[in-house]
């Protein structure tokens, strides 16, 4: 089991009953394959199943997040950490932020 903090912002929280911050325990058995490691690919599935209450197409497109969503692992763009293959560690903080266009 891995304890993570998941955050949703920029409007994505509306998909999770308007709750922005979620402290979750992700059970390793239920996901992941390679040596019991939890990678972002697994987490996206877990989020879609467990947190997203409506319009999953506003969160995912194919196997990754939809265009216009920034993914941050411990305040760092997931593009710098391996995107879908980024390995997560206990107490990591993952944020999903929809980019804003208003002014």
């Amino acid at each position: 089991m891995m304890h993570l903090t998941l955050e949703f912002g920029g409007g994505l929280e509306l998909l999770c009953e308007s709750v922005k911050s979620h402290n979750v325990d992700v059970v390793l058995e239920s996901v992941g394959e390679k040596e019991g490691k939890l990678v972002m690919r697994d987490l996206l599935c877990w989020v879609k199943t467990n947190l997203i209450k409506e319009r999953p197409e506003m969160f995912l497109k194919g196997e990754t997040v939809r265009p216009g969503v920034l993914v941050l692992i411990n305040d760092c763009d997931w593009e710098l950490c391996g995107t879908l293959d980024a390995v997560l560690e206990e107490k990591d903080e993952i944020a999903f932020i929809s980019t804003l266009h208003g002014g």
Partner: protein, 288 residues
Amino acid sequence: PPYGDHGLSKELIYRYSRHLLLPDFGIQGQANLLNSSILVVGAGGLGSPVALYLAACGVGRLGIVDNDIVELNNLQRQIIHTEAFIGKHKVESAAAACRAINSTIDVIEHKGALLAVNALDIISKYDVVVDATDNIPTRYMINDGCVLLNKPLVSGAALGLEGQLTIYHYNGGPCYRCLFPTPPPTSACQRCSDSGVLGVVPGIIGCLQALEAIKLASSVGVSLSGRMLLFDALSARIRTVKIRERSLNCDACGENPIFTKKLFRSFDYENFTETPIFDLSCENLMLL
């Protein structure tokens, strides 16, 4: 440049004395500002504080572009406009406010929309561009124009109770397309006119945009390039996150960019983003 030898008049030394006293800014920073030119695209919620603070601080030439007319429901957040200007062009209203604060700088009015056909001509006249617009086709267009003309872009956005801020195409950092190569689905694009915005949220983001533009124009401090500021008003939480590097595959700033000036001028940004540049307001109210 007229202030290249720091030849500030007595009056300007008095006007900007609080800047000149700053060891980290001083007369060189002020001279740089006075010799600089900044374009503010959008005279709305973000553009209001951007234009006011840039005018006040002494940016030598300040351009303002906007196509809109001042409406009563703008005044809840667009503090550069007053009731007396309702029905008039936002650019005229904003320029009048800037001149009233500082008659010694050059304020240029670009009345009308910034479009692919005119953007390069306008952007090319300025050193720094501030994106204070409210729609996604214009955001892609400003980005591509800034990359083509090699101008740094201070990009801010605000909606609801949140704001975001970063600098694109500066100092080897990423551009907007590096972060968002594919436009989001139209159902994910909201405007303030659709979803509302707490008036002071664009105020905060706009002031931070003005600061970053001033830092670029005066060559002072460390810019937000490569970092993005995320602001959540409800919790008063502000954090700065590290964003990706420039993408070598970027259509705009990569090693084999698809854009030429010619292609840019005829590129259909509304079609690319499946979003109209001009707000159809109530007709397209979306929930997310």
